[in-house]
């Protein structure tokens, strides 16, 4: 039920309604786009493919937002480590001004 892969729409078949050719790093297959057509699909769009059907359009912005959130996790952590380190140094009498 769960295997679905992102692929990019590379062509539409004028003779075949509701169908597009999707590319997954060089592997191509015709998929049925009925489930995403109502929201509008164009060449170059990325869709999630499951059993030969496009299930959803992939939202680039949401992907970016997610990556940004994940990266900031690391930054927050690094910042906290820095502060903690400074506090440890102070409590151990290592002195010096904060960076």
């Amino acid at each position: 039920m769960c295997l679905a892969i992102p692929g990019q729409i590379v062509s539409f078949d004028p003779a075949l309604a509701h169908s597009a050719t999707v590319d997954v790093v060089g592997v191509r297959r015709k998929v049925d786009i009925s489930l995403v057509e109502p929201e509008g699909v164009s060449l170059g769009d990325w869709v999630l493919i499951h059993v030969g059907f496009a299930m959803s359009k992939i939202r680039e912005q949401d992907a970016h937002d997610q990556m940004r959130m994940l990266r900031s996790l690391g930054e927050t952590q690094a910042a906290m480590d820095e502060v903690r380190g400074y506090l440890d140094d102070v409590s151990e009498g290592k002195g010096g001004s904060p960076p």
Binding site: M1, C2, L3, I5, V24, V25, V27, R29, H50, V51
Partner: protein, 346 residues
């Protein structure tokens, strides 16, 4: 070490496709039925080719059969598979193929044009590989059998001096090498069957690996412990056999295993693991750490060896298992499949 003493009994009531897929079911058939009945009480680990002593000379001998549909596919055909497959079985046992004999089982109704094409391909492949085809046999069976044609070969070869491969000689710390990208052949065949409606510019990697093996032997023979060609069942099966035969762990660094984009894409789409897919032009080698650099270098300098990589190492634990580690540290066991890999949707 898996030997005839690890009593495997073959209990299946009938033969299934899985028994020919090179995985666990194949192993059960070979160890549980063929070996006890044909090989007697030999405690030798089962490899592809065997070394025989006769009148003071040692040589290598192997037999193989080729069943593929479709007969022709991007990058090759059954005729080339037959020659290269035999040469490669001998090569990874440490031998240079000299002479082949070939049998054809032909389906009545097979077009002469198709047969000629295969036999020419076989002749060309033999010349390219430097082997002689000394003779053979032909049978014809009824229409509906043999998928066009089946080819069987037997090959004999001279031992490459200085090469003594055996799973017994493998030690923790040894390095595992792969000659090039995996999965090309199996995915090409899968796509060529046309049932999945996938297109990709991929071709079979069928080729003789002998020149690469000789380059490796030239640079690293004293440190060369084990070799295998990962055909049906893929790298996973070959390495699991090694792990079992030497009672150690083969630890893979997942991101170092070379896989072409298109193979990866097809595998992701179909839920397959490249480690389980058949290859016809690659081989695995285990080399001692002191010879690893020389070995890799020799492969890189040999034509066709540019993509060779060190993909893992031998460790003491978990014994008899193959473990694959992701770059971030997560690990998983890589098992042998039961039968052929099947596409999945879940």
């Amino acid at each position: 070490m898996a030997t005839a003493s690890t009593k495997v009994r073959f209990r299946d009531a009938q033969i299934e496709m899985a028994h020919g897929a090179g995985g666990k079911a194949s192993r059960r058939l070979i160890e549980g039925l063929f070996a006890p009945l044909l090989l007697g009480s030999s405690s030798e680990p089962l490899g592809d080719a065997t070394h025989i002593g006769w009148n003071g000379t040692r040589f290598a001998i192997t037999a193989d059969s080729f069943v593929v549909s479709p007969l022709r596919f991007a990058g090759g055909s059954i005729g080339e598979l037959a020659v290269n497959g035999t040469v490669n079985d001998l090569a990874v046992s440490g031998a240079r193929a000299e002479t082949l004999v070939v049998t054809y089982v032909l389906e009545a109704g097979l077009s002469t044009e198709v047969l000629e094409a295969e036999v020419s391909a076989m002749g060309r492949a033999a010349r390219a590989a430097g082997v002689t085809i000394a003779g053979g046999d032909t049978k014809v069976v009824e229409h509906g059998k043999a998928d066009g044609m089946y080819i069987t070969t037997a090959g004999v070869g001279r031992l490459i001096p200085g090469v003594h491969c055996s799973p017994d000689s493998v030690r923790p710390g040894d390095v595992v090498m792969l000659s090039g990208p995996i999965g090309d052949h199996g995915i090409t065949i899968l796509l060529a069957r046309g049932e999945l409606d996938l297109e990709a510019s991929l071709s079979s990697d069928t080729r003789p690996v002998l020149p690469l093996v000789e380059a490796l032997a030239g640079a690293a023979a004293p440190g060369l412990r084990w070799m295998r060609d990962p055909t049906r069942g893929g790298v996973a099966t070959a390495l699991n056999e090694l792990a079992r035969d030497c009672n150690l762990c083969v630890y893979l660094f997942e991101e170092r295993v070379p896989v072409r984009d298109a193979v990866r894409g097809a595998c992701e789409l179909l839920g397959l693991d490249p480690l389980h897919i058949a290859n016809e032009g690659q081989f695995l080698a285990v080399v001692s750490p002191d010879y690893a650099d020389a070995a890799l270098d020799a492969l890189h300098r040999a034509p066709g060896g540019e993509c060779a990589r060190i993909i893992g190492e031998v460790r003491p634990q978990p014994a008899c298992a193959v473990l694959s580690a992701a770059p971030y540290g997560g690990t998983r066991i890589v098992d042998m499949l039961v039968g052929d890999p099947l596409p999945r949707i879940c």
